[in-house]
Symmetry: C2
């Protein structure tokens, strides 16, 4: 098909959909550093992790060697409800920009959760069900992950308890209602249902919560309730494994038409989308079979790659989770409240951190108002209203396409469009009203948080 005109949207046939997930770690010479037990400073064992996570997921988390994992049939069936997702050739954008670059994006927003999060949610829910559990607990900030997990649990008839950061619970009632539609129980965090929640409420009366606190509550409920485990939507190795379906589909669609990207761009909060999108391409690079440039895009207000340090740190602000080696701003770091979208996590996936550390990947930080400018431009030209998170990738893709116009290079640019912005219209409104501002932490601020990193 290499000579055919490339359609606006490439959809794989069901028979062409990936049947295995790809584990990038298997091709890495230096493996990502292991999770450490914060008490002993030693690598977490499978047994220790199994208190918090499902058995099969612990195996996936610790396995640095198996290259491919079969996707169970039940998950494949679920994937077929909303996958394959389209790989879109951005003809309209190219024309509007008058760029010789060829622009493609993989659009993961065509499902009710509105993002790629569903790819891992169904996998984690499936393994919980397989283990005979009653349910799972999790936290959610903006709500994409909570929505995705609610959908997966509804499908498998599994109980789903979501701790939602209180300010989001109150400010994003629609996300909450979607979760309720899928039968999840949604509790504003900090709550009075957990010890840690009670402690935080007592210490900070009237607090509107944080992601770190919600994680601690969800973990507490999972470990104290019979038949429950905790699940997480990003950062972990297992999540990147499940999300590799994004990259595998993208690569299969590109191969079908003989397309080879020069530049692959994704937004990066904890790394779930970026790690999934780049997986098979990075695999080729690691094996020396092909070369690609990868760019991780993060908010200037939460710049873990570009201004963080590569060190062991807690994954949560409550410091109950294992230590992970990653690019981090410090587990106390919380982005300025004027930051509108997601991508608020203080650290970054260990796998991606190692790849970045080795120079296999680049990173770029972008300002919020520039991101929304790109979002609105994209919406008008390509029709899709993008999520603020995804719009970080759009910003850099536009910048690169404009650079191609200036240099005349016919580069092929691929970026991940992780989701839609239907539940982010308060942020869009701020942008339209001119009340959106940028915030870049000072070096002094970052140094304060860095000083509190655990000594390992």
């Amino acid at each position: 098909m290499a000579n055919e005109k490339i359609p606006y949207k490439i959809y794989l046939n069901e028979s062409e959909m990936p049947k295995q997930w790809y584990n990038m770690r298997a091709d890495m010479k230096t493996k990502p550093a292991p999770l450490l037990n914060p008490g002993t400073g030693k690598p977490m064992t499978a047994e220790e992790l199994s208190v918090v996570f499902c058995k099969d997921l612990v195996e996936q988390e610790l396995d640095n060697d198996t290259k491919y994992f079969d996707i169970p049939d039940e998950i494949l069936s679920f994937y077929k409800m909303y996958r394959p997702s389209p790989l879109v050739r951005a003809y309209c954008l190219e024309e509007k920009l008058q760029t010789p670059a060829k622009i493609y994006y993989k659009f993961e927003g065509n499902n009710t959760s509105g993002s790629h999060k569903l790819n891992s949610a169904i996998a984690q829910a499936y393994y919980a069900k397989k283990q005979g559990l009653k349910g799972v607990t999790t936290e959610t900030g903006a709500g994409q992950w909570g929505t995705a997990l609610s959908m997966a649990c509804a499908y498998l008839n599994l109980d789903c308890k979501v701790f939602m950061v209180k300010c989001s619970y109150e400010q994003k009632p629609f996300r909450r209602e979607v979760m309720r539609t899928y039968g999840a129980s949604v509790t504003p965090s900090p709550s009075m249902e957990t010890e840690v929640g009670k402690r935080i409420n007592a210490a900070h009366p009237g607090t509107t919560g944080s992601l770190g606190c919600a994680i601690s509550e969800a973990v507490e409920v999972a470990t104290k309730s019979e038949g429950y485990r905790y699940v997480l939507g990003s950062v972990l190795n297992q999540v990147l494994l499940h999300q590799s379906v994004i990259g595998l589909e993208t690569k299969a669609a590109m191969d079908k038409y003989g397309i080879k990207p020069d530049l692959i761009i994704g937004c990066a909060g904890g790394g779930s989308n970026l790690g999934g999108l780049i997986a098979p391409f990075m695999g080729e690079k690691l094996r020396g079979e092909a070369d690609y440039r990868f760019i991780a895009v993060e908010p200037a207000s939460c710049p873990s790659f570009t201004r963080g340090v590569y060190a062991y740190d807690f994954c949560d602000t409550g410091m109950v989770c294992p230590l992970a080696k990653m690019y981090t701003l410090g587990s106390d770091f919380i982005p300025s409240p004027n930051h509108a979208g997601g991508l608020r996590f203080h650290g970054m996936s260990s796998t991606l951190s190692e790849l970045y550390h080795e120079g296999l990947m680049e990173a770029r930080a972008v300002n919020q108002t520039d991101v929304f400018e790109a979002a609105e431009y994209f919406a008008r030209v390509e029709g899709i209203l993008p999520a603020p998170e995804s719009s970080h990738a759009i910003r850099v893709a536009l910048d690169e396409a404009i650079r191609c116009r200036e240099t005349g290079e016919e580069k092929t640019i691929l970026f991940g469009l992780t989701g839609t912005g239907y539940f982010d219209l308060v942020a869009y409104q701020k942008y339209h009203d001119g009340t959106m501002t940028d915030y870049i932490p000072t070096d002094e601020e970052l140094a304060q948080y860095r000083a509190k990193l655990p000594k390992v």
Copy 2:
């Protein structure tokens, strides 16, 4: 391909997409009754209509004979940004219901306007542009149509003035922000920008507006402004013509796999979706080539087909528009405020009215709470969060599939899933909270409005 396993989602290739719209009226023995000039009682001429509508659209509106209209290349390109839409085989629903019925739905929600409205919005905007106009005006209630038109106008660089019913403007700020993202000006109606708006505001201080009033404002601005025309998202023949793309794609996808539906179900407000979905199937029925059952589903709170009369009536409450012969409840009829979704129009497309009158189509009215029960059930099983409007069709599709379980009949059911419910979560919340109620107008109420029908 007839013997292949039918995939979860059938996507046509771009080369298989329809290149012409189909005009159902050409195959009707009795044509829909013409629009009448309310002053003279005589059929509206092209010249009269051209004051309000674009030239090419007037031709399409009045043409009862041309069977196929070529879709202009510019519109085809735009369609390729979000079409073909998937025809989904509802395997999960069938299994959950344990029904021998085979269920398919055509999903039109995978675009930022969230509904099928975009199919006609781009066509109407295109003809306005072609005529060299500066812009278009329209009204919107729930906001799907206004959003779709804003997207189409942004693409073609055309000005777009939307009059949004004031209560929706205030209660649905997110819809408003989407329109602003696409560069439309959105004015709450009744406004102080038009004569009719000033009159209504003076007569009813503090009124939160109605669709009928917003139509009158949009028409006034279109006719009084140089280089503007008025566009409408439903009811008109031209809209059904453009929406035939839904049915044509559906039929092409079904033919490809040798599928023949027994029963075709669609929700009906003004008739845009239903008229589009059934078009090529009804064509076969009209020509005696095949037989199908068609069911129009309407809210019990606004039952124009099932409890209205077939008569000439005004299309707007302001009585400035032409008279149309249709099933109507009377142009003063406004559904009870407890009715949550769209489908609030007092009348019905003239074309569909004639088909219903001849017994070629059935109609069924359903209660709001039953509709939301079906919506939630569908969301949990099939993953998609449906719009309240679309959920009327889901309700009847479920009822029919359950009937098949009881009778053992292996019927093939097709329904239109017109859009997503992301902007209708206030209604979902009412349903979850148990505060949603049903309202069925009494015979006495309906008789009051009927008594005010114009004498023609």
